[in-house]
């Protein structure tokens, strides 16, 4: 009663006297990114102390480069995970796309841009097929994409072998259109004497777009709802199937984008590339606070997750350790992140 009478006196209408103004720190902790951010700071400080060469801007630029190449894929994989699905074929799909563009341009001797577009169509189709099978059959995406993972892996290696008699695609650097494509997908520029790879820019842009979609458009609402409770979403008219297929296709699109970067960076593609990367994407998303069961997470969190991954990978090299330890640390990171996320999510859910 009293607060309805007093309501006009308080200028911002959304405030309620029963809501204690939380400190900025408490509000930050309630966000999905919180755990990842804390982890990123710890990892950064750790390598900053232990590896002197890690401190240089040049080193950090290369950390960011490694991060961005993975990060391009982590962003849609995180959205897909928030939407309640997995894509285990995401790693090899990058290679499939790159091989497709490369072999198509080379074998038909056409401008590489033609190959690039064919690869885009293929990647979108792979995403669509994954999504369509998952939606139509209701089979877990874990199983469906495990199947496509092996299929793509087999196609990548076998088809490359059949066409080129080698395990890698031929060098396409002297085919028409290569230099312009390289400018788009694999160039770099210099800021204050530090070389910045263009993928870093793309990565940040895509993370921002994904964040905007998630939080400021209805599609974002729908992504959270199809992951959080598909039946509820369907009951209020959200096109659950279309949304999931769109998310798989977004993974396909970014697989194409990443594949094009790899292709124009190295001119040639190893057909066995990309195996295992799907786990990196999923780990980064989970470390970044995305819930494995869907319905919760953020693109920024996943970006921080992949930054941790990049820092650890490069940090171990700068620290002069045996790189074989890398896998161990990634596993440790994942386990720690899951424990931390579980605790944080429980707090977020009970936080009033």
């Amino acid at each position: 009663m009293t607060q309805t009478a007093e309501a006009p006196l308080t200028p911002p209408p959304m405030l309620d006297e029963r809501v204690v103004r939380k400190s900025p720190l408490a509000r930050l902790l309630a966000r999905p990114e919180a755990g990842a951010l804390a982890g990123a700071i710890v990892v950064y400080v750790f390598f900053f102390i232990i590896a002197p060469s890690f401190r240089y801007a040049v080193s950090f630029s290369s950390v960011l480069y490694v991060t961005s190449v993975f990060g391009l894929m982590v962003t849609p994989v995180a959205l897909l995970m928030i939407g309640g699905e997995f894509d285990l074929s995401a790693g090899v799909a990058v290679t499939s796309s790159a091989l497709c563009a490369s072999l198509f341009s080379y074998e038909f001797t056409v401008n590489v841009w033609v190959g690039v577009l064919v690869a885009l169509a293929l990647s979108l189709f792979i995403g669509f097929a994954n999504g369509w099978i998952v939606v139509k059959t209701g089979i877990s995406s874990f199983l469906v994409t495990l199947g496509t993972f092996f299929m793509l892996q087999g196609i990548n290696i076998a088809l490359t072998q059949t066409i080129t008699n080698q395990v890698a695609s031929p060098n396409i650097s002297n085919i028409a259109g290569f230099s312009s494509a390289q400018k788009v997908f694999a160039s770099s520029f210099t800021v204050a004497g530090v070389n910045i790879r263009i993928t870093i820019v793309y990565w940040i842009v895509f993370v921002l777009i994904a964040t905007w979609i998630l939080l400021r458009t209805r599609y974002g609402n729908w992504i959270f709802s199809v992951g959080g409770s598909p039946q509820s979403a369907r009951a209020v008219g959200v096109p659950v199937g279309k949304m999931k297929i769109a998310l798989f296709m977004a993974v396909g699109f970014m697989a194409w984008f990443t594949g094009m970067h790899t292709l124009f960076e190295f001119n040639t593609i190893q057909s066995a590339n990309g195996i295992g990367n799907e786990f990196v994407y999923i780990i980064a998303a989970v470390v970044g606070g995305c819930l494995l069961t869907g319905g919760y997470g953020s693109a920024v969190g996943a970006a921080i997750g992949v930054l941790i991954f990049g820092m650890v990978e490069q940090g171990i090299i700068y620290a002069g350790w045996n790189p074989d330890w890398f896998q161990f640390f990634v596993g440790l990171l994942l386990l720690g992140a899951i424990l931390l996320n579980t605790a944080i999510r429980k707090r977020a859910e009970s936080a009033r």
Binding site: M14, R216, T217, R218, F224, S229, S232, V236, G237, G295
Partner: protein, 299 residues
Amino acid sequence: MTSTTENTRDGTAAPPLVRLTNAGKRYGSIIALTDITLEVGAGEVTCVLGDNGAGKSTLIKIIAGLHQPSTGTYEVEGERVEFNSPREALERGIATVYQDLAVVPLMPVWRNFFLGAEVRKGPRLDIPFMKKTCKEELLAMGIDLRDVDQPIGTLSGGERQCVAISRAVHFGAKVLILDEPTAALGVKQSGVVLKYIIQARERGLGVIFITHNPHHAYPVGDRFLLLNRGRSIGYFEKGQITRDELTGLMAGGAELEALSHELESAGGAAAEAGHEMEEEVQELGITPGAESDASVGHD
């Protein structure tokens, strides 16, 4: 006191919002529902009572537009309809609030409220407007939330149902189908939901209230449809039946009596329970004979 006849609403000439006439549903060789007649008008609550497996879910699915009746007719405001999806039913103002499917727990209250019908400014969500509207609509229903940004999973079960109800009302529902809204709730929370059902009725909505609890149905209902094994075992106006008769019919007098005999013959504590149950059965006046008497009153 409550059982005094008040059929004043029936005096109006307007056709009921929803009317099912002799509706039935078969799934292949399985007959899920036979010969069901039911109606609900504006400002009325029609209660559908029945135990598990009585055919309540099938009935909801027909009214909500998920299924079409195999036999009989379905009319909305006097006009015959054949819905192919819940969306079409929704367009005619028939909204269903499911017991567990109402909300996405991890999403904020306001996002849940507008899910599937987001208000936009160009491509962007109009977040301040939606938060404000959500808070106001909930307040109109008597739910005073501290913060519409909290995940809806942090609300109590009753509050969650009410958010779903007020959402349906906000988006222009004329008829609300409530699927066991009180089933998973405690006594107090059930009371809260019943209050909102009355509130919805006062606002001129038709409510179809599905429940297996006659004590929840009787105080709010204007009509009662009792289902058993896919058939109607009674369709009453409020004035035609007392709470005890309703309870007795719901319990299925004969079955209850058989159960009490069974318990008594088991001896010991079970016999004691059986005896108590028999007393209860007699108190309620539910014997096989009484049940058939009550069925006569069905029109």
